[in-house]
Symmetry: C2
Subunit: 339 residues, 2 copies
Amino acid sequence: MDETKNTPTGQVPTLADVARTAGVSTATVSRCLNLPDQVTEKTMRRVMEAVDRLGYSPNYSARALAANRTNTIGAIIPTMENAIFARGLQAFQEELHQSGCTLLVASSSYEEDLEEEQIKTLTARGADALLLIGYHRKPRVYEFLEKRKIPTLVAWAFDPEVSRLAVGFNNRAAMHELADLVMGAGHKRIGCISADTVSNDRARERAQGIRDSMSAAGLDPKMLQMVETAYSIENGEMAFHELMAHAEPPTVVMCGNDVLAVGALRAAAAMNLRVPEDVAITGFDDIELASVAPVPLTTVHVPHRRMGQFAAQALLDELNGKKPDSIELPTAIYRRSSF
Amino acid sequence: MDETKNTPTGQVPTLADVARTAGVSTATVSRCLNLPDQVTEKTMRRVMEAVDRLGYSPNYSARALAANRTNTIGAIIPTMENAIFARGLQAFQEELHQSGCTLLVASSSYEEDLEEEQIKTLTARGADALLLIGYHRKPRVYEFLEKRKIPTLVAWAFDPEVSRLAVGFNNRAAMHELADLVMGAGHKRIGCISADTVSNDRARERAQGIRDSMSAAGLDPKMLQMVETAYSIENGEMAFHELMAHAEPPTVVMCGNDVLAVGALRAAAAMNLRVPEDVAITGFDDIELASVAPVPLTTVHVPHRRMGQFAAQALLDELNGKKPDSIELPTAIYRRSSF
DNA sequence: AGGAAAAATGTAAGCGCTTACATTTTTCAT
DNA sequence: ATGAAAAATGTAAGCGCTTACATTTTTCCT
């Protein structure tokens, strides 16, 4: 091994190589890179020349170790597979990029324990802050995050009751609003295809929104015909068949998200049911799928991009010691043809 | 600051804290964590107890710096926004996770320079290896990668002519096959909506596949009516309108991907054109959208998940010094209703 | 039981960077 | 010109880990 030669070795150049080439100390090089206005213009030029000449780029692990921050923000989303989180995340990452932060994405496959593991992994990898989806997780996870002092933001949900930093929307109220429209149209037998409500608070809140509306309309919320299943088109189809096999099948099927709704749509077509004449169907999220579905979906539009941007901003503020406020974003009903 | 107390400080525990608590050296702790069979069972137990008690988890930056590897693999995809890459990437990451590797995702927005920047960033962040989409990039980028000795794999494309490690499919041949079907149906006026063919080799190859087929069918490939635009439903609509405004509009519009095709479909509907009777439309990729589109799309099915799995496997092999082979995956025409 | 080989453990030198503190250079009012 | 304050730069001590090498302990053959 060649130790500290006077010329850079054939290896990847280090900051020391740059310093040597430019004829300055390592501290000065570091300052050129991180605190440019503490340095003479002339020095800066010399150093930058050396950087270019050697093709130097800093080793982030070393930087992270020395500075005790990584400029990395982690996000753990339930799935990358369908488009629910894609758009928001893209905006989130664009916004972070502007501030020189890198996004580290992990997915939990909607599994609570896997999410916990991923949180551990991302913090071990030095994520300075974390974006998490929804509120529901074990207390010990929140304790861990607090002990480690990792700024954390909850997105895709907003609960005014909880003081935790959040950028999201009120799932319950949004679904309530849509359900009110449904009730207003005279539907009495309501079906719902939802994700698992035990570990998924967004799903739970959405279902609750339907019940709220039923109560308000004088219907017994216990009469809500509910099927829980994982998000996928196929599962949506199966759930729809299950619902329609009842003695008194629902006249409207409100789905926990657009993916399930598209499945329902497809099952309806297979059963020769006209939508919305024979059975109405609604979605949630307003992903691309919703507007191009065979019967364009009536759904709850969620401002994904803005949510991503605001979330990034809030987390960045938090990291800089400002005290950002939680943000509740408005949703809107997009009335298309499926109801 | 409290330096080296005998009991762990109130801070995040370090490996040294664990060593002290367990009454062993730091080297032993490190071995327990990384080379478990070089260590007595008794020692292991003692150390693990200390790990649990302190809630220790290793600092990856320090580990990366010391060991000169990060167990991180980077992927740079053109976009996270539509679903083209989502499924393959999900499979990629699941496979990596099994081997204890973390995936770092960045997106280039289909911009060559941004991709170059992201490559620099990810290597600076210590990605041990890189997944890149397609072959096309500046020679200096490949030189950089080689100089840095970063194992790199090209996915979503496969060119037998190029020796570079790749896991993908032959875009040109796949589109050729679909185009043959189109020619076989007697179409003479062919339109194509494609992504930018200058910097996107997959798009270029796909377009070339159509021309190949035209030549073979005795048509002049120059007659291909081509519109290039960025991938989005809206752009697909606009491009379709442009195509149909010609004096002799095409009788079939072959799209570079499903997203564009859905846009075309929508524009056709707006123009009261029946698909496929008045104009046929084809897609590429077979993303979810394709099967649920108002007119189910005839498209080229790509085995996204398998591609992701194989890519992970190949890259992992490469990292372990094995010499993996490039893999060409078969594609298939999924004939639905749009042609 | 004795000793050489093998296995387990310990010691300590970095990995490439940041940053507190020390030193040198520049600026500027006198 | 002069010296004090301000600005620029340098020195060197780590950050938390891995790992080559040294040392100690265990194993096992005679």
